[in-house]
Assembly symmetry: C2
Homo-oligomer: 380 residues x 2
């Protein structure tokens, strides 16, 4: 135990524990963790057989390292590869991956492992939740977004033509290993998009973290030890909210800061990631949430300006016009928002804010107010 | 409240409570309950919008009565119809029904209602578990099998080409209404098949119930008040086991008495229900479990004979040769059994018995013993 701790410190390792009673699990964070994945998994699941699900891009960069590590730990495994991209979160891939896991004859105590970003994690988690009504699930998140957000909290799922993430399950992993070095191969655009979610944790509930990000964002991007710290603090922030509200009935909704608008923007471009990826939508969505809060008299222009500066410094889009191409009219956005899953009996729910780190859930937002606001924001 | 109780007694109503903490729910049992479905649902879910899923056959007989009752309670509802038969429990129907529920714009507190047998219940329950990661679920079981078995316990799912019920979720209903009068339109063959599951509860843990069934089975078939009693005692038996072991890690396995063999038989005929329906497989499977127990010296021939007599009196098949057409060799059966979901790391798990009402879980059954036994049983 003491040895592990020493080794952890030497290698700059952190563990964030997600407390969910019998479904509690650790998120381990550090450079080169992938090389230890075999040992870590064997530790939690001795003798388990694995189905590793990954996408073609991630496989090219990191699959060999994982297989070497699994082989070294004598973990029998099969690999299932899916195409990269949001469109992989669909019924057809769900069916194919489920059937491949079954074809590999995994038994109930065996594990399904996601090696990839949020797309692979969400799809694989839903497969793990569904095959034999629940297999053990391990996450090896390879994007910043997946490390700080999608791999924490147990939300899994696929998209329907009616909207994103509308089909899925709550299914907690048994173990998450976030290798921060793996992010070095990530395209800058995806790194930035993930960074929007990091900023979100500051904005929703931790002004000091936001201030720390203003000072340290370059080191996070360039791969200093600040990156581990940013990932760990983000995971901790999400884990705290999730532990308080596993099934998303109350406080967890705060994590949707920027997401109601963000999802609507993603839907408006038909999830064309060439135009907008999730984190970019969240960045613009957070700006809109702050501007809408300003409009309602909750915050002053200097707060909006401060958020605007940090997001644009980090290279993130900050207004609807930053999205290339045509966009639908405000009414269409409202329609998308109403069909979004955060709707309760017609009234609109938004995450608004009273200042940096002071977001709150507002359940009774008048649809007409939103339409008017969006109309202005959509003027070219 | 007092009024309800009086009415319940007058109408010969029983309620079995399934105790699962915050997921507890009542199963209400009685004649003509369908006419009260609207009031009952409105009571639990005031103002909810409903998606009713049913199959074409059930719709022909009972959908009008349900709609009238829902309209009377001012419950807004949409109807989604699937083809009857086991092949409806597939990915394609799952996708279609999910998308239709979403198209109906149901929100999170709204409900998905299954009106049908086990096929409709299993598919609909999995849809309810998955849409928006969990919608409220109401079961209106219309077959004897669904009333005494599939609507109790929260197992939902669909079939994969690798086997039955391999994709699914545990998702408890909020309410189950078992209208025993609805069973009058059920084909005799399906009634008998459901009766096999009723007999199962006696055989696995309640010798007195089995003896009561020997005396009262004709009244159950013909629709006397014994039918309500049989449904209620069966539900209670299953509810007790489920409450003790919701996620099927231990005692719940007893409910699989007859099912390891039964599922293998169903798979062997490729789920051709013209040759074998689930309950018929269970009937033959229970005979095989008793004969295998006799072979292992656990029970004597008189016990086997008593079970044989009751099942055949009730018109159920009791041996493999009762299945029309060709069957695969014993080795194929073993292969099917090994891929069955009750396998743990290679050893075979069977439910065996030490006498009527004394079934137990045996985890270390030698595969060769089973192959030899089946070889004999397969001799024409
Ligand atoms: N479950 C949740 O709680 C949750 C939360 C937030 C977002 N999400 C979901 O996450 C998804 C977005 O996740 P994402 O941004 O990680 O997208 P992604 O999984 O599509 O990854 C982005 C791209 O980067 C590539 N990639 C991944 N890791 C790489 C690496 N280390 N090096 C090089 N390339 C790499 C991928 O192949 C892909 O092309 C969305 O579907 C969103 O709905 C889920
Ligand atoms: N979830 C569980 O715990 C569980 C337990 C046991 C069985 N099952 C599943 O249940 C399914 C079998 O259920 P089933 O036997 O009810 O089959 P089913 O749903 O196919 O119904 C049998 C037939 O009867 C018709 N029917 C239903 N109700 C009728 C009525 N009142 N009048 C006239 N016709 C009617 C149906 O259209 C169908 O053709 C299998 O898929 C099995 O795997 C699930
Ligand atoms: Zn997000
Ligand atoms: Zn059964």
């Amino acid at each position: 135990m003491a040895d592990t701790l020493v080794a952890e410190q030497a290698a700059n390792r952190t563990t964030v524990q997600v407390d969910l009673g019998s479904r509690s699990y650790p998120i381990k964070i550090g450079r080169s963790l992938l090389a230890e994945a075999g040992a870590e998994i064997a530790n939690v699941l001795p003798g388990a057989r694995l189905a590793v699900v990954t996408d073609e891009t991630v496989a090219r960069f990191h699959l060999d390292a994982l297989r070497t590590s699994l082989d070294a730990a004598s973990l029998d495994h099969t690999v299932i590869t899916v195409p990269p991209g949001e469109s992989t979160k669909c019924y057809a891939e769900f069916e194919r991956v489920c059937d491949e896991v079954l074809a590999a004859r995994l038994e109930r105590g065996d594990a399904v492992v996601a090696l990839g970003g949020g797309v692979v994690g969400d799809l694989t988690g839903y497969v793990a939740a569904s095959v034999r009504r629940g297999m053990v699930f391990v996450q090896l998140p390879t994007t910043l977004l997946a490390q700080v957000d999608s791999s924490v909290g147990g939300k899994t799922g696929i998209n329907s033509r009616h909207g994103k993430n509308l089909i899925g399950a709550f299914h907690q992993p048994a173990l998450v290993l976030a290798d921060t070095g793996i992010l070095d191969t990530l395209p800058m655009r995806d790194f930035r998009a993930g960074y929007a979610e990091v900023v979100k944790y500051g904005l929703l509930g931790d002004a000091a973290f936001f201030a720390w990000l203003e000072d340290n964002w370059q080191a996070i991007f360039s791969g200093g030890p600040e990156r581990e710290e940013a990932v760990a603090r983000s995971c901790q922030a999400k884990a705290d909210v999730v532990a308080a509200d596993e099934l998303e009935s109350g406080r967890r909704a705060l994590l949707n800061l920027g997401h109601t608008f963000g999802h609507a923007l993603e839907a408006a471009v038909s999830y064309e990631t060439s135009r907008l990826v999730h984190g970019e939508g969240v960045s613009i969505g957070m700006m809109l949430a702050h501007e809408f809060s300003e409009r309602l008299g909750l915050i002053g222009p200097e707060t909006v300006e401060r958020v605007h500066k940090h997001l644009s410094d980090a290279g993130l889009p900050v207004k609807i016009q930053d999205i290339p191409g045509q966009l639908p009219p405000a009414e269409t956005f409202l329609d998308i928002i109403a069909q979004d899953k955060k709707v309760t009996r017609g009234a609109l729910t938004f995450i608004l804010t009273r200042g940096i780190g002071e977001a709150f859930v507002e359940k009774g937002v008048e649809p007409a107010l939103v339409t008017d606001f969006l109309k202005e924001k959509l003027v070219p």
